[in-house]
Every structure is written in C-alpha cells, then in structure tokens.
C-alpha cells in the first residue's frame, strides 16, 4: 500500500542575524538607561544625599503635607469624574449609533493634544476674575474657582479625561453587545446587566485606565500651575511644591526637593508595577475572548 506522507514544514522562527539584533537591543537599552533610568536613580541618590533625617523633615513639613493632601484630593476627583465620564462615553461609542459619534470619539483625545499650560489657561479664561462666567459664579456662590481647590480639581480632571475612556472603548468594542443582550433577554434590569455582566468583563481595562489616570493626575504640573496661582501652603500641589523647593537656595532645599520627588517616583514605580500586572491580565482576558469566538468540534 502506497501512501504519500506530507511532512509538516519546519517551524518558521524570526531569527534576524546577530548584527541586527545586538545593535537594536543595545540601542534600546542605552536609550532607556540614559533617558529614563539614569535620571530616576539620580533622583533617589540626590534625595538621600544628606541623609534620612533631611528626607524625613522634608516630608513632614506642613507645606509638603498640605501639598500631598491637595494632590490626593485633586487626583481622587479626577479619577471619579473621569470614571463616570469614561464609562458613559465608552458605552455610548461602543454600543450606540448616533450622529456625531466620530466627533465625540475625537474630542475625547483633545486633552492629549492640548498643551497642559493651555489647559490651565482655559479655566482661567472662563472662571477667572475677568473670565466669562467667573464673576457670575463668585457673585452667586462666593466660591473661588481659580487660585483655589476647585480650579485645581477642574484642571486635573481635564488633562486626564482621555485615559479611562481610551482604555474602555476598545475593550467594549471587542467584547461586543451579545452578552449584555443575552442578559436583557434573560430578564436582567439595566443595572443588573451592568453590574453582573458588563463590569466583570471590563474590570481589567477599567483598573488599568484608573491607574493611568491616577498617575497622570498626581504628576500634573503645567495646567495646575496656571490655575492654582502657586500659593504656598494653600494651593500648592506636590509637583509645584517640589519645584519651589528646587528653586530655593541651599543644599537642604535641593535635597528636600529630590526627596519629595523620590516620593513621587516611588509612587510612579508602584503604578508601573501594578500597570504591568493589569496589562498582562487584560491581554490574557482578550485571548480568552478570541478563543471563545472560535468554532470547535464537540
């Protein structure tokens, strides 16, 4: 009995020659080292240069503490606001057909393309003493927006608008509406559907977006500078406080600046770690999605 055997073609492995791989990898590592890792290490080195005592007193200084508080309040506000907006926008864009959808989608990216200083200026022009509605708002409520906490919250929220929405939209588009439709046909109310079906499916993308939003909010400098007026102990956020320390004279001031900066860097590194983990989890989940769409034999 003759049978023609078909041999499987040997596995194709992308193997560029060493003189391509080595320079490319070397360049990437060098670039990263010089532009990113070096400076970061330097922050920690300079921060601890004068000893832990200086670091401790820098962190316990009332201005620093107040700045930290302000930063955290602004960042919580940004996260909560953009979480609500991000969910609403992602849902609308991924699930509905409506005129102007493309416009909305593009507008979400606007805060990315606008310089942070301009972002701050926008609010000054609207809510400032000589702005469009500033005097009106002050007249009615006696609340200061510019050069006060509300302004900082607004500016921080503005610059972090895209983060959560941008994470959620592709995730929701990839997931598709079927599970939610199924939930509805099975008798779930809108809230039950959202809570039991949508949320568990988007949770990794959501957390990732929240983390990015938070990271950016904590570190925002340009927009908040313009809007806050940089009043020490009153409207300084952590990044502004660091700048002031650095502008000051003396080794202690400098070391303190780096110490607080090291705090921020520490937060950033923590964010990076969590982000990497969530990214990995999210990719895993999207692989599951791809698997479930494939027809299989019983």
């Amino acid at each position: 009995m003759t049978a023609t055997t078909i041999t499987p073609a040997h596995k194709i492995v992308r193997h560029d020659p060493w003189y391509v791989r080595v320079p490319l990898i070397a360049f990437a590592v060098l670039f990263l080292g010089i532009m990113v890792i070096g400076p970061l290490v330097n922050v920690f080195t300079q921060g601890f240069a004068l000893g832990v005592g200086v670091v401790a007193s820098a962190m316990q200084h009332p201005d620093a503490v107040h700045a930290l508080k302000l930063t955290l309040i602004a960042s919580v506000c940004a996260v909560v606001g953009n979480l609500t907006f991000g969910l609403a926008a992602a849902w609308s864009i991924a699930r509905f057909r409506f005129p102007g959808k493309v416009v909305l989608n593009s507008l979400i990216d606007l805060p990315f393309s606008v310089s942070p200083v301009i972002a701050g200026l926008i609010f000054v022009l609207i809510f400032g003493a000589y702005g469009f509605v500033g005097p009106l708002v002050f007249g009615e409520t006696r609340i200061d927006i510019i050069f006060a906490l509300p302004g900082i919250m607004l500016a921080t929220t503005f610059v972090t608008v895209p983060f959560i929405a941008r994470e959620l939209i592709p995730v929701m588009e990839a997931l598709g509406p079927e599970e939610e439709e199924a939930a509805r046909t099975l008798g779930a109310s809108a809230w039950q559907m959202f809570w039991r079906v949508t949320l568990p499916n988007i949770k990794w993308g959501l957390l990732y977006g929240v983390l990015l939003c938070n990271a950016r909010a904590i570190g925002e400098f340009g927009a908040v500078s313009v809007v806050s007026g940089k009043l020490a102990g009153r409207t300084d956020t952590l990044p502004i406080h660091i700048e002031k320390l650095y502008q000051g004279f003396g080794a202690v001031q400098t070391a303190s600046a780096f110490a607080i900066a090291a705090l921020l860097c520490g937060l950033a590194l923590l964010t990076l770690l969590i982000k990497t983990f969530l990214e990995w989890k999210s990719k895993q989940q999207l692989c599951e999605v791809a698997k479930t769409e494939m027809p299989m034999a019983a």
Partner: protein
Amino acid sequence: MSILVRNVTKRFNNHLALDRVSLDVPSGLLVALLGPSGCGKTTLLRIIAGLESADEGTVLLHDEDADKLNVRDRNIGFVFQHYALFRHMTVHDNIGFSLKVRGRPRKEIDERVRELLRLIQLEDMAKRYPAQLSGGQRQRVAMARALAARPRVLLLDEPFGALDAKIRKELRDWLRRLHEEIHVTSVFVTHDQEEALELADRIVVMNEGRIEQVGTPEEVYHHPANPFVMKFLGQVNLFHGRMEDGEIVLGPSSPSAQFAATGGGGTGEAAAKQSSVVGYVRPHQLDIARYQNGSPSWPARVARINAAGQQVRIEAVLLGENRPVEVLMSQERYNELALKAGEEVFVKAKEVKIFEAAPLDYTI
C-alpha cells in the same frame, strides 16, 4: 404563546431591512425563518425579541401589544449564534442567571439548573467555565440558559451556524426532540435549507425584507410559490423556452422537446398567448435514457459522474445549448444504465414547474 407580526417595517440608514412583513406563528410550533444573508430574517427575530424596535408595524405576543413590553418583560428565551455565554460565570451560574435576576431562592435555582443539566446531558460540567467547553456543549448550555425561566417563546438566531457539520446534525436532532418534549413556540433563523426542511413545522422563506412563502416543508419544497423559493430550497435546473397555444417548447429547440401543458389554474388568455417561459426542474426529476421513446427529451452528453454518496449525481451537457444540467438518480438506476462519461444520451424531465405572473403549475 402565539406571535403575530403585523406590517413590520425596519430601516437601517437607507437600507430597507424589512418591508411590511406580516406573519402568524401559532402557539407550540417550531418555525424556521429561512433566507439568504441580508434578507431580514435576523432583524425580524430581534424585533420579536425586543432587541430592536420596528419603525412601523406591531408585534403581538399572545395578543398583547409587545411594544409596551421591553426585552426583559417579554418572557422570551434567546439563543445567539455565538452562544453569548457569560464568560466569567460557571455553567451553573450561566444557566441559573435568569432565575437569579428574578430573585428566586437559591434552592429553587439549584434544582432547576440540575434539571436542565440533565436535559442537556452535561451534569458534570456545572462548575466549568464556557472557555473550557466545546462549541456543541456551549450551545447546549446556551439553550438551557434560555429555557431556565420557562419562556413562552424560544428564539434562536442561526443556533448551529458556528458549529461543524456533524455536531450541527446532532444538535438539530436534539432540538427537534426537545421541542417535541417541551412544545414551546419556537422560531429559528437559518440560511441552511436542509436544516429548515428537517427541523421546522413551518418554513417562512424570506428575501430582501419580504416573505416569499410560508408553508410546511412539503409545501415549500414541492409547491414553491415562485422561482426564488424553488431555487433556494434545493438545486434547480433551468430550461428556457416558449409557450404557444398551450404548448410549451423548452430547451434547445428540437421537436422532441415539446410539452403539452396540462393542468395549471391559469386563465385562458394567459395560456393561449405566445410568451417566453422558464421551466424549473429539480435534479431528481430528470432522468437519463439512451433512446427518445416518444416522451419529451433533450440530447446531451454525459460530462461528469459522481457516484459517491446515497445517490448518483450526473452532470450532462445539453447539446445545442452547450449548457450543463444536473441529474440525480438512484444507485440502482445508475447501475441499470451503466453510464460512462462522454456518452451521448437523452435527458428526460418527469416534472417541470413554470412560474408566470399568476403562478401556474404545469405538470408534464
């Protein structure tokens, strides 16, 4: 529960998906919406479910205007083509979902889920996740999930479309048996005419947003209302010809291909005029013979013989028109004839359907 669709129209942007569609689905029947892609069958199903709303017209579920009811209040079960199982829930939680959202007690849910798992024969899979199941298993879970809250209508959107042929056949049989056991009014969408013919009590043939014909499988197969239905429900051979004074000549003009038109319910005027006609013949209504023997036939040459399968498929090229026709015959007949490729034979027709403006059925 019966379903009444009255003059439903639906537009997507400028595309007319459904054009004044009306349909009656009596309680307890298994009905197929059959048609090519884009004919509107899925849109109609979704409108019945409440997942889409009609631009015009109404849907009555058990004589109640369904417009007032939104999806969750219609008490329907929907099975999606790609299962739409909740990926982060176990099989048990998936099936029990409709009862959970209705606030049923845990014991009741567990019992109902156990009952359904037995029905779909997946008792050991309760703790598994959808990603750990095969396609056929997932679809069975999807059906169990849809049936959990005892819906009065079961709607299925190409339920076996994503599965391979063998599993499709198994699940088809399984669905038929299930329907016989449970008797819930069911409507399923398919583009597979074999599936519709095998499963359904009634078939609704649709095309371009309109219903072409509604009938039992026998009715739509043997008495199609128009060429579209006939062509969609199986293979057809076409013969162009002319009708003059009640006599029809089909195919390459040869005196031997003259048919006397008998039967039909047309008016005298239509039958008497000269007109060009198209005759439709199913492959199994054609036969092959070596001699003309008086009955109408066409000379042809055997081009291809496919004897693998239940019946033998022969491709014969009509001489004079140089056009192939497909003939289906039993293995016995084939052995009787001992045909070989390249032979010159005669193709005979046992029954030809001709459609005109007023559908007339001519039997030769």
